[in-house]
């Protein structure tokens, strides 16, 4: 396997950066130097210059997302916050920053440390990043989602660091008796032309302020960057590879004993009664058993004994809210919710219409839902990976009958998230259990809980229709999806700034859909629309309907796959190959640039053996203009290769993902990691990764049921390509960007390889199940005892 790179050194000249524009920061009254900046930055940028229009065909109807997208929405939401983020200088010369976002593997702590080290002229290892507890005054700013963190923090973090550096220089000037502007800060030391040198550590008290003051600063010109833009390894990697990195279940909180929940067989089923509570309470190691709103909780000395107790419980279960639903019934409702086309056909035009169904997808990370809670009469302390800790804190306080200020919400680095940690399901449940039994608890969901009662990416049906003559006259695209739950505050963050977005009267779902659905092609009259099903009031209650959420993206993987696969069909109907057709109709030169790059690196047009195909797809999101190339092998010897308890099927053998980012890429090595992960997610969702719903119950209970990519599915070669940044001031987001284009390109490649156009995703979803489902009662697969037989 090779993992080649081309042109991954972004242009650090900084595109169109405001290199000498002044930014407003603060010095805070504190014993040592503390510098701060307002979130949203002291400077508000206008929209980036539109890319040059290009291509044949009829220009599309402007879409909202062509001008303002989800990234803008979330960055705008960050701006009104009057409160500050602050960098503190320590006596040992290091800097500390309590990040008000959550690290879940996306590399945010490393990128923020790089920004601070750069602007403050410190070695990277002298910058310490921790995760901030919930800070209610930050409102929408303490929200990690929509791949918007770097976009929102790039300027404010640099501004605070620049204020600190300026103050250190000033203090050094006093000590050395020299003018501050003749001094140089470098690697944590300030030096003068006459040979004086003072380390930062000696200045942190002298530079401290006893009042809070506003300070204007200039930022370092991006052309002088020596850390930002360099390929930089993660600052938390050593802890991770030595086992020292601590996740929620690794934390040692006094008396917070292992706790698990016996859950109903169907989604959000209810407890009617427990028939053997007292008997289970006497099981070895078990300290407490108590019914709660989501099932029956058990607490014990070890999680293993909790598993046994959960499975020993004899519970009379009541029905859940979706017991009547199966894959087929949901799909039927989605199709029924799809409105007829609004652009009428004319006698002069031909029409092409297609419909694709996207199955429910498991949204869980490898780190299962977990939380520690210590709830007392007058206070509560919670530890969990939550990406919207303020919402979690407020909701849990309300559920416990406490004031928000009585709840301390600690944010713990996550074992992945992919959207699930936008919700605080485990934190809320742990708090309920701790309150009911009056003891601290360390709650962990079993993998089967995560699969069967955890949040899923909603099923959807994409419908797309074009009318064409020699050119495409109109394009209508509709997505019907099961309601996506946005109760975690993400939606409020956006609608809080609705007046800045041309979306008055839209629902949260419609806002997000609209902001992530740009037009890419000159296809004339262009209309996009979202309809969500399962919208009844009862479905919008906690545990009222399906447990949904975004999973490394909300709507766009389904939207992009529908669009790009349809573009291939349209190309064929109009007598062109997929690449030439896209070249002809892309609407601007940025899309053309990434398209050509992906074709060049991937080797578009090279002959392939029978059963092997190439696909190419375009996408724009999170301030990235992207193209993806995929080669897939659908030959029988590949599709049918045997893997024990695994699914093989068609194999993606090569991939290329090209991005044209919005601004400097802070850490290209980190962005490439996101591109690799996003690419894998994309092809897994196209080929194998889904869950099956049958009468309100999900069949999958674990890995080896849910077929996310494993080593045996991995392409032999993947090339991430980061082109020099475009001329804008908004850095792009990386966490989710690769999923949609990779999903789409895989679908296109499959069509090219097999001559068959899939109508359902993943393509194997309607095949016979590749596993024997575990029973739903008792809820947990029994722990095996034969592990030594598999030692190698």
């Amino acid at each position: 396997m090779r993992s080649r790179r081309t042109e991954t050194t972004p242009d650090t000249s900084g595109a169109n950066a405001p290199s000498r524009r002044r930014f407003l920061g603060y010095l805070l009254a504190a014993p040592t130097l503390v510098a701060a900046a307002e979130l949203g930055g002291g400077s508000v940028f206008g929209p980036s210059a539109a890319a040059a229009e290009t291509g044949a065909g009829l220009p599309p109807t402007p879409q909202v997302a062509d001008h303002v997208d989800l990234t803008d929405g979330l960055v705008y939401a960050a701006r009104p916050t009057a409160n500050l983020i602050a960098i503190q200088l320590n006596e040992d010369g290091s800097a500390s920053f309590a990040l008000h976002r959550t690290e879940v593997g996306q590399g945010l702590t490393t990128a923020i440390a790089m920004l601070i080290a750069e602007e403050l002229e410190l070695p990277l290892e002298k910058v310490h990043i921790t995760l901030s507890d919930a800070r209610p005054e930050l409102a929408f700013n303490q929200l990690t989602g929509g791949s918007a963190s770097i976009s929102a923090l790039y300027w404010p973090v640099r501004t605070a660091a620049a204020v600190a550096k300026g103050k250190l220089l000033e203090a050094a000037g006093h000590v050395l008796g020299e003018q501050a502007d003749l001094l140089t800060a470098k690697l944590g030391t300030i030096t003068s032309a006459t040979g004086g040198a003072i380390p930062y550590g000696d200045l942190v008290h002298k530079a401290a302020s006893d009042t809070t003051q506003k300070v204007e600063v200039e930022l370092k010109p991006e052309s002088e960057f020596r850390i930002v833009g360099e390929r930089t390894r993660r600052i938390d990697a050593l802890d991770a590879v030595t086992g020292r990195k601590q996740f929620t279940t690794d934390l040692k909180v006094p008396d917070a004993k292992p706790t698990m929940v016996c859950r109903p067989p169907t989604i959000n089923g209810t407890v009617r009664g427990v028939n053997n509570l007292d008997q289970v309470r006497t099981m070895p190691g078990i300290t407490d058993v108590v019914p709660i709103s989501s099932g029956v909780a058990v607490r014990g000395e070890t999680f293993g004994q909790c598993i046994d107790a959960v499975n020993a419980l004899d519970v009379s279960w009541g029905p859940g809210p979706v017991d009547g639903e199966s894959d087929a019934t949901v799909e039927k409702k989605l199709k029924a919710a799809t409105p007829p086309p609004v652009i009428p056909p004319t006698p002069q035009t031909k029409t092409l219409e297609r419909q694709y169904t996207f199955a429910f997808v498991n949204g869980s990370a490898l780190g299962v839902n977990s939380a520690i809670a210590d709830v007392r009469a007058d206070k509560a302390e919670i530890w969990s990976t939550v990406k919207v800790p303020i919402v979690a804190q407020a909701a849990i306080a309300s559920e416990l009958g406490l004031a928000q200020s009585q709840v301390t919400m600690h944010v713990v680095p996550g074992g992945g998230s992919f959207g699930r940690c936008l919700f605080h399901d485990a934190a809320s449940e742990a708090a309920e259990i701790s309150q009911k039994i009056g003891k601290p608890v360390k709650l962990m969901w079993h993998r089967a809980d995560d699969c069967r009662q955890g949040r899923v990416h909603p099923m959807s049906v994409g419908t797309i229709r074009a009318s064409f003559t020699d050119d495409v006259i109109s394009l209508e695209q509709h997505l019907a999806g099961v309601r996506t739950d946005f109760s975690h505050g993400f939606g409020e963050a956006l609608t809080s700034t609705a007046s800045r977005l041309p979306l008055a009267g839209y629902s949260i779902s419609e806002v997000i859909f609209t902001l992530t659905t740009p037009s890419l092609y000159n296809f004339g009259v262009t209309k996009t629309l979202l309809t969500e099903t399962h919208q009844s009031p009862s479905n919008n209650q906690k545990r009222g309907g399906f447990n949904t959420g975004s999973t490394r993206n909300v709507y766009s993987p389904d939207v992009a796959t529908t669009r790009e696969l349809f573009v291939d069909e349209l190309a064929e109907a109009m007598g062109m190959d997929p690449y030439s057709f896209r070249r002809k109709y892309v609407k601007n030169d940025k899309l053309l640039k990434v398209l050509d790059k992906a074709a060049e690196v991937g080797g578009w047009g090279q002959p392939t053996p029978e059963g092997v195909g190439h696909g190419i797809a375009l996408h724009h999101e999170y301030k990235n203009t992207m193209a993806c190339f995929v080669e897939i092998d659908c030959r029988p010897e590949t599709v049918n290769r045997p893997i024990r308890d695994g699914v093989t099927g068609p194999r993606v053998t090569r991939g290329v993902l090209v991005t044209l980012p919005g601004h400097i890429v802070v850490n290209p090595l980190g962005l490439e990691a996101m591109m690799q992960g996003g690419f894998i997610d994309g092809f897994a969702q196209a080929l194998t990764a889904s869950v099956h719903l049958n009468q309100g119950a999900i069949a999958e209970a674990s890995w080896d049921n849910f077929f996310y990519c494993r080593q045996w599915n991995l392409p032999f070669e993947f090339t991430p390509v980061i082109l020099p940044a475009e001329e804008s001031e908004m850095p792009s987001g990386g966490g989710e960007m690769g999923v949609a284009p990779a999903f789409a390109a895989t679908a296109c490649a499959y069509r090219a390889a097999t001559g068959k156009t899939p109508t359902h995703f993943p393509i194997n979803h309607n095949d016979p199940l590749a596993f024997e489902p575990y029973p739903h009662v008792p809820p947990l697969p029994p722990s095996p005892t034969n592990g030594l037989d598999y030692a190698y």
Binding site: S3, T302, I307, A365, L366, G415, R447, L669, Q676, G787
Partner: protein, 158 residues
């Protein structure tokens, strides 16, 4: 309550636990060694991969009573000790390739990789892609590309 004695990361330990408690919970919940992670509890995700007498295994699927006093259990915390360095060469390769994203699966991935290299050597041959594809450890972040690169780089350093 029964007591159990075995070697954990080079030290002989004795712990009280019911016979049928799976070793993972003895290690994590009773002994406080948290490098091996829980990801499934049924020996499929492999996040808890550790070594028993130098071979990779999954303590979530072994009862503590099946561990003999002479058995040497090694978790990620004890891995470097096998070569007397701060880091095992495979851990160094992991750092060099910046493999880690969230990091949750990585202790298990590294323990699996080391065992896989040794297994191939015991058969008198070098590690192949086919060997790596036998590694079942799940990485939900999708670090598989860098895992492959790191294993191939780390193997000759062992």
């Amino acid at each position: 309550m029964p007591t159990h004695t075995f070697k954990l990361n080079g030290k002989e330990i004795t712990v009280e636990a019911e016979d049928d408690v799976r070793l993972l919970w003895v290690i994590r919940d009773l002994l406080g060694v948290t490098g091996p992670k829980y990801g499934c509890g049924i020996n499929v995700c492999k996040a808890c991969t550790s070594h028993i007498n130098g071979k990779a295994f999954n303590p979530c699927a072994v009862q503590v009573k099946d561990i003999e006093p002479t058995d040497e259990i090694t978790t990620i915390e004890g891995l470097p000790a096998t070569v007397g360095e701060d880091l095992h060469p495979m851990q160094e390769a992991w750092l060099d390739h910046d493999v880690v994203q969230c990091g949750y699966c990585q202790p298990g991935q590294i323990m699996a990789a080391v065992a896989k290299v040794k297994q191939a050597r015991a058969k008198g041959r070098d590690l192949t892609d086919a060997d790596i594809e036998e590694i079942r450890n799940v990485c939900r972040c999708g670090t598989y590309f860098r895992i492959r690169d790191a294993i191939k780089d780390g193997a000759p350093r062992m």
